[in-house]
Symmetry: C2
């Protein structure tokens, strides 16, 4: 297995990934994360027409960071990645492949396939269009999926997403406390030893990062924490709700109602998304008809920042650890703080024993 | 804060706790865990008439372990604990208090109160009857409960239970990856610094133990892993199902159906329990009437070991990490293996960075 820091030589350890949050993590945040020694992903989601422009913007922003720019010029690899949903129409995904060929992002992150075999199909295309420069990352949420995807798509990286994650993921699942080590053992048992594992779901600070490393991950991926970065493409109302919300086990839930209100209908069976509880959620649980709930949602959308919040109706996707996010920071400072905290925790605990 | 290893001087680090699993963790397992340097709890549950005999048995078994017996003779503290459910009738809990006065177990573990204030009431009684020798542990599953219980009952130890845990817990919750650090921060912010934190839920091996330490816990509590100990008071069919089951995020669920079939009806609103999916669960989800499901359950109960399993109907309570439990070991060997694995993981990860 090639260590991640060799594979992506602009990175430093512990290995920190900025999740490809759709519409929220764009070129600005991705480049900021990579420039600080992490690996930033752009959340292309299903807006695949725009991938070319996202990567063009990233390539332009990279010029502002000497280390990244030098790497880009020498290697021809754009030191960010982007993520797409495999459930998007194939013709849109093909447009992505053209962008891969043109920009050679360091990795493409697949998620949300209708069937695991789809990942292998697109992995092959990504590898071909990337001409050996673009690696394949695939996110899974169960041991069974991890094994099947590892065997069939042979990704360079498996992102193992625990059920604490914000946004979309499997309806049922385990936290990374048990999921990550079981995936690691299952891969070992099949003799697959060349796939790096990135843990995702509930990681908010250096303590979580350190925990993923001792659990057996090669790095940690954070989404919610980066929502509170200056570079996130996020409404102020959303960001303030991330700062406000706490006790995420009680005040977030995995649900389909937010997708229904937002009109996102293409997610495969078995997926839902975790968000902060709000009035839409409570009304839905109290039996309000979807049609009526959607009308109220559409009205809230016109309120701007006031539409978010516990009495609001606009969706605040966030993980169970949302209560650990207390302030807005530069994305690069978040990366460095995560790394320093993780090291401090490991050093603090290890010699005491 | 008094370090746990000073407070309970027969223990070694990392601090390992055997959970008070009702009917499953009895005196034999508890003493085995304590004799190996852990802290073993007896799961009295609501069978409170028998607490006196459980502790008598523990005191007798302690004689077989020189270190424990010496400690017991010198301190007058029985080096095991027991756990009860606060929802049990008050007259039964009063009988427990008599047993506390007689045997002075090192700790009593409270869980499942109808309201958080009940913990404070019984904490005071435990302290009085324990005459300074018996400490108070309380298990919580949210940041809000942790704060309220810490302020009102002032336990010596808070057990912070993540939603990955097997058996009973809150219906909704977070994994310890985010719950434990948020509880730690919330207590710090209120100036409460004298309560040790034990993490529970999804911890199965030394990787999980090491993770809890870097997350900020002072020790780790395991239940499911000890089901596969030689000393657990468990049917062979149950134990074999724990060994067999895997991918617990997909193959266990938090549900009330097992309580309903078993006739356990006194748990407070907001609690359910995590168990391995079986035929009872699937039939319930498919709409089978409870009465009919219970009839089938009662028949399965007569089958003995064959009544468990994926096609069986007897309940297999277990956590999401059940797939990491692969063999039956002596409880003491489990404790030592957990400690060694945790140290190895911390040592392996720390210098690499």
């Amino acid at each position: 297995m090639v260590p991640l820091a060799e594979q992506y030589p602009w990175t430093t350890l512990p290995f920190i990934v900025g999740a490809p949050m759709r519409q929220l993590a764009m070129a600005r945040l991705a480049v900021e994360v990579s420039a600080a020694g992490g690996f930033g992903f752009i959340g292309a989601g299903e807006s695949l027409d725009e991938v070319d422009s996202y990567l063009e913007q990233a390539a332009s922003l990279v010029k502002g960071h000497e280390l990244l720019q030098t790497y880009y010029e020498k290697s021809g690899v754009l030191p960010v990645g982007f993520g797409f949903f495999d459930w998007a129409p194939a013709e849109d995904l093909e447009k992505c492949m053209v962008a891969v060929k043109k920009w050679k992002p360091a990795a493409v992150w697949q998620f949300g396939a209708y069937k695991n075999q789809d990942y292998a199909v697109w992995a092959e295309k990504i590898r071909k269009m990337g001409e050996g420069k673009t690696q394949v990352w695939i996110q899974v949420g169960s041991v069974a999926d991890a094994l099947e995807v590892a065997k069939t798509a042979r990704p360079d990286v498996l992102v193992v997403q625990g059920t604490d994650a914000g946004g979309h993921g499997l309806e049922t699942g385990a936290g990374i406390i048990s999921l990550l080590p079981e995936v690691a053992d299952a891969l070992d048992a099949t003799g697959i030893t060349d796939i790096n594992l990135i843990a995702a779901g509930g990681i908010m600070d250096g303590r979580g990062v350190a925990a993923t490393l001792v659990l057996g991950a090669n790095g940690a991926c954070l989404g919610t924490r980066f929502l509170a970065s200056e570079e996130a493409n996020i409404g102020n109302g959303y960001r303030q709700e991330v700062i406000r919300a706490s006790d995420g086990g009680m005040n977030t839930a995995r649900t389909k109602i937010y997708d229904k209100l937002r009109g996102t209908t293409l997610w495969p069976v078995g997926y839902n998304a975790r968000g902060v509880l709000n009035q839409s959620f409570h009304d839905h649980n109290a039996g309000l008809a979807l049609e009526e709930n959607r009308k109220l949602y559409d009205e809230a959308m016109k309120q701007g920042d006031a539409g978010w919040g516990v009495n609001g109706r606009i969706t605040t996707y966030a993980g169970t650890g949302v209560g650990l996010v207390k302030s807005v920071m530069k994305g690069g400072d978040i990366v460095k703080e995560l790394q320093q905290q993780a090291l401090r925790r490991l050093e603090a605990v290890t010699p005491k024993l």
